[in-house]
Amino acid sequence: MTAELLRIEKLVAGYGEARVLSEIDFTLGEGQWLALLGRNGTGKTTLVDTIAGVTTLHSGTIRFAGTDITRMRPERRAAAGIGWVPQERNIFRSLTVEENLTAISRPGPWNIERAYGMFPRLKERRGNLGSQLSGGEQQMLAIARALMLNPKLLLLDEPLEGLAPVIVDELLGVLRRLVSDEGMSAIIIEQKARKVLPLTDRAVILDRGAIVWEGESATLLSDAGLLERHIGVAGGKALRVG
């Protein structure tokens, strides 16, 4: 049994007075990967942003690695080991690839050379500004930047969104390596459930800001009816995962 890394209890959060999430409860163990699924506008990004600390939290608690981080500032959460890869990538466009990585690096096993080892394409473009990168390269940079924090938990918000199929395959390969080799925990949001369910241990489906299904990823992957009922598109096309 894995030790608990993240515990969310009775979480109610949103933006300003608007409440998007209601009474969310779930836990994540060390080294576990969780798929966060649901249709558009069901609160997936809000949940991840709440864990990162940038939404309005109305009630509930978030405990990370045994510490209550409910009222902790975003930079303190990042320093505590929460790496965030936002939906819109949010790289620093006026900094070079290398400066993006160096600016936020923290001591630990992940350093700039290791990040380049994971993403050789970034090494080739180390002197280019963030604004000069393609969408796929920006996504790689966003993931590499999160790794430079040496996180215990990685929050990935639709990392495959809008990328060419060949880049999607490359990124899935990277995520597979992170799952198998690094022992890192992650919460990954993705519209195309079938692409990420093979990577994850568990899945949570959100609808209207509440959890409507929670269980093993393998169970969800094998039940097309369940996927169709909750996500609506049978979780995207089947993908061969090696």
Binding site: R73, W84, N90, E99, I104
Partner: protein, 356 residues
Amino acid sequence: MTAVSESQEAVSAAAPEHLAAAQLRRRSAWRAYELVLWLVAVALIFLLPSKALLLTEIAIVALFAVSLDLILGYAGIVSLGHGAFFGLGAYVAGLFARHYFTEPVTGLLVAGLASGIFGFAASFLVLRGSDLTRLMTTLGIALMLAELANQMAWLTGGADGLGGFTIGPILGLFEFDLWGRTGYIYSLAVLFLAMLIARRLVHAPFGLSLKAIKANRVRAAMVGVPANSRIVVIYTIAAVYAGFAGALLTQTTSFVSPDVLAFHRSADVLLVLVIGGVGYLYGGIIGAIVFTLLRDWLSVITPQYWMFWIGLVLVVIVLIGRENLARWHTFLPAPVQRVFKRAASWRPGVKLGGGG
């Protein structure tokens, strides 16, 4: 295999931490234009001894502008009251020399310390609000300080200014001379040391994180950059630099008046940065050279209207540069740009591959 490729392989084979350190070192290596600029500045001691007073003024304005560039160019904090730290440094240096100790390096350090403490306290005000709030806050601080200097005549001499003190020899060895040569060498040395430290700061991860804060403060916080504490640190350092600049003015002229806290000081230094470009430190120096020479020249040929021409130059620069003032060179023809870029970015040492 060439020596260069051998060196590259040696670097690649090094431990990752060593390679990252080597990359940081290379990024902060001296560029050709920097070496030329400092060599010319030293040569002017001998080549233009009759212009030492003007050169001293350039060095002081440059240091003041570098100080503003640290907060504006790197952390993106706009300020209309940076003259407060300059003026405070100027008064502290004058009062210290008058009442305690005339040795200028000690006075310089005390003035920098006083401005730094004031800057540290003021930094918590600039953390709050947007750019407009910061403009008003910084302006308000400068105006309050100027009025205090004016009203506290028993301490500052009021509108008549603070005089009646002499500045002793630098480190007890070098007397200030009538022609300003010692003052120029002293100011240049302080500017050089300040630039050395500033270069290290901005090329270190600390400086890169400031750029990240400038790009988007909230986003920087979300990826682990402690934006508030970094802003406090750089604002305090910038205040120390401005205090040094003010102290240099006092020590090289042996006089301080409320003019050092006037609004035009803050506006002028902003203008200097606009002329030279923000976000690369040398914009402050280049801007100081252009601004001071332009002002000197215009005030001779048209004593009553020189501000008009300075204003016109500013309007033209802003119209050409638009929002990207640090990249005015992009308006030059492409071949000229390439030559400039190659010459300016040349650095000694082994190239570490990539684009770095």
